[in-house]
Symmetry: C2
Subunit: 456 residues, 2 copies
């Protein structure tokens, strides 16, 4: 336990020093244990496990661009992202890990207690056992607070889902190297720091908002108070839950998206060099290869392909108070790779660079980019999953618009309270991973500045 965050930072610096890591870009055709299928050009692991990179033909998306082809990561198995929760001094703490992921700009970030693909925890790569895994695999002790199959970046993954779990224990938990307990308040503070709390932690924490937030609301007239009321049970909402379920079902009914796996070598608009697969106009992302060595991972070294975005993403909610209660503008978004095609997404979610010369730009993007500083309630740059994505960062924003902003929005958008997002996130395949990160920021928004200051 840390009584001040400075102790945490010292610990993290010490963990960085304790282990040696090296990540080097290498040509795709020189990746150990990976090969390109002769017929399709697909990138495959020699074991037939882990994941593959294939081509995807997309049509009927009904977005700014309706049809396209792209490389996609295919990884049909479910991994586990699990966080152990325990009360110390009457306050919930979360067991986190200082973990290296080759794609992180700063290599080591804070990850959940367990972050394991099925290949990891069934021992396919012959590595070390996954620590603390027993808390998350039945039959297990402890009390499950949250357990849902959740999608991940649907622009880059086809039908990928991971099991997100929060398990509360009262047992004594031995503390291993690279692990530490953080309180909810400490996590709240650390979420403001760039590239520190990794994606896997953020998505699991979206299920912990109920642990952090009082169910009773209250609060003053400022944004913080309006946010507390938004998270309260029975928060006065612009739409009732039946309307929102119908809005979401309607979006699925209208969805005309079709997806078809195609050979990676035949993807239109993309080319393979000896080193990478890249977009012909330099947009979207590049598929590249890395060699990794680490002293504290399940295996000492490995090679793998990764997706490297060409530009930073912008992921934002417009927030608006309605009768003194914060509402978020949520999009029922056709998600390229999502299992059920439509999920709830932030107001804006894109790489703005891709639309620099486009005639149609994503709705509400300009409102986010032009937001004056006084309207920005949250802003931080965070990394996407560093196990598959290379230097993939996104600017996460919560922008409060005035009460003159229209309540009447296009049919695929709706205003939701934080409590409604909390009710939906318990059911998998409702909030996409970007919306879950933002829910975590909202849920862990410093609800008690004085108390927080004391902790920091």
């Amino acid at each position: 336990m840390f009584s001040h965050l400075s102790e945490f930072h010292a610990w993290l610096a010490q963990r960085r020093r304790a282990n040696a890591y090296h990540v080097a870009e290498v040509p795709l055709d020189r990746l150990t244990n990976w090969y390109s299928d002769e017929t399709t050009g697909n990138l495959l692991h020699r074991s037939g496990r882990f994941f593959s990179v294939q081509g995807l033909d997309v049509a009927g998306a009904g977005r700014e661009v309706d049809a396209w082809q792209q490389p996609i990561i295919v990884q049909p198995e479910h991994g586990i992202l699990g966080m152990l929760v325990k009360e110390f001094g009457g306050r919930p703490h979360f067991l986190v890990q200082a973990k290296m992921e080759p794609g992180n700009v700063n290599l080591v970030q804070v990850s959940p207690t367990v972050q394991a693909t099925r290949s990891n925890y069934t021992g396919v790569h012959g590595g070390k056992a996954v620590p603390y895994l027993d808390y998350f695999v039945a039959p297990r002790g402890g009390r499950v607070l949250f357990d849902a199959l959740q999608s991940e970046q649907a622009s880059w993954f086809l039908a990928k889902r991971n099991r997100n779990m929060l398990v509360q224990t009262e047992e004594d938990v031995p503390l291993l190297d690279d692990f530490c307990w953080l309180s909810a308040d400490q996590i709240a503070a650390l979420l403001h720091q760039d590239n520190l709390i990794n994606m896997d932690t953020r998505t699991v924490l979206s299920g912990a908002v109920a642990v952090r937030r009082s169910a009773s609301g209250g609060g003053g007239d400022d944004f913080r108070g309006a946010l507390a009321r938004s998270a309260a049970v029975g928060a006065r909402a612009h739409h009732d839950f039946a309307e929102l379920l119908s809005w979401f079902t309607e979006a699925k009914g209208h969805c005309t998206l079709t997806r078809r796996l195609i050979p990676l070598s035949s993807v239109r608009g993309w080319s393979r060099t000896d080193r990478v697969v890249q977009h012909d106009d330099g947009q979207h992302f590049t598929v590249l290869g890395v060699d990794v060595t680490a002293t504290n991972r399940e295996v000492g070294g490995w090679s793998q392909p990764m997706f490297a975005p060409r530009s930073e993403g912008v992921i934002a909610y417009l927030a608006r108070r309605i009768d003194g209660v914060v509402h978020l503008l949520v999009q029922a978004r056709v998600e390229t790779g999502a299992f059920d095609r439509v999920e709830m997404a932030p107001t804006v979610q894109c790489q703005p660079e891709n639309y620099r010369s486009a005639t149609t730009r994503p709705l509400f993007l300009q409102e986010v980019l032009d937001a004056p500083a006084g309207r920005i309630r949250f802003e931080a740059v965070h990394s996407e999953e560093g196990g598959r994505f290379y230097h993939a960062t996104s600017r996460y924003l919560i922008v409060e618009v005035g009460e003159d902003f229209p309540l009447d929005v296009p049919p695929r958008y709706a205003w939701l309270t934080v409590r409604q997002l909390m009710d939906f996130v318990r059911f998998g395949s409702h909030l996409n991973v970007e919306a879950r990160s933002l829910l975590t920021f909202l849920g862990f928004y410093d609800t008690d500045a004085d108390r927080l200051a004391a902790v920091v």
Copy 2:
């Protein structure tokens, strides 16, 4: 409106007489507008629409039988099953239709206000417009009470889902021929009658339990009282909701089911004659063809393949009181054709004839078949969807077991309250169609016998 159910029966008899129907079995190779693909043997419509009959290879089901092949209906589009609700004299009434379906043993049954495939309501077959459709298609008036994408018979359909909708209106609704208003009490009484309330009505009504049931519970010491408490908001439950979500996620995590479409002509264990496709041991079902004529359907006549089960199904909940609250024994069941492979199903769901000489029989089947009359709280024979299934009937049962029945059940089973089923049914792909029918029987269980008697 009918003040007594005898008036309803007279009306239904009159509707039967007002229209002429004829259904005749014909060989599959003589179905107008249908053909067998030369290479695959698949049964296809010449328009490329409606549905097709193909082969399915199933492995890793983890049920009594782990792997098999079978014919399957492929119909990827979402239809609408919609019911209009309106208060008359302060009580909710449902607009239903006397509708002929070729597979019904008695041809005409009670169907929802709208029961339309996408082909129906987009006019693919060039038939008449679907009455009342405007109430269910955006932009629409009225208040949506329920709107979810729900699966249908997963033993016979691949990934079929229909949109189930309840829309409340306060407008004057013109009453067309073949339509009538039924009160919730009248429907409750009619659900006890064999082969009358069709599957589409039953599944939509599973979303109307909250309309029918008081949220406050109460009730006496008998089954009826314990059932009322089970449907109350905050009913004391054996498992909390987080545990149930985790149990369901766990079942998905354990599921190893794989499915692969194969040519109908190559399905192992099934043979095609000039007339039908049938199982070599005379089990499961037969694929047959019918010619249909009707004077009051969207088109005057048509031909189609149907699935005809070889024996009656048994679909049952074991119910047990826990601390005076009825709990149902629900199964997280690997469902052959279900979109997400695992759904919540009744305790027992099978055709017992298929297990006559099997060494492993479905769990709890014997308890249901051997239940003494005094333990049976509900029993009726109902038809499955008469548009695809020919004379497909199932015996629906709710059997109350004593408090000596073990609470400790195998991991893929759990005890749920009616309120928990009501909370899950709002989210599509949680309760399978058989579980939804039983939820309707539980939800419409005559809560007020005196009032009901007055209505009947």
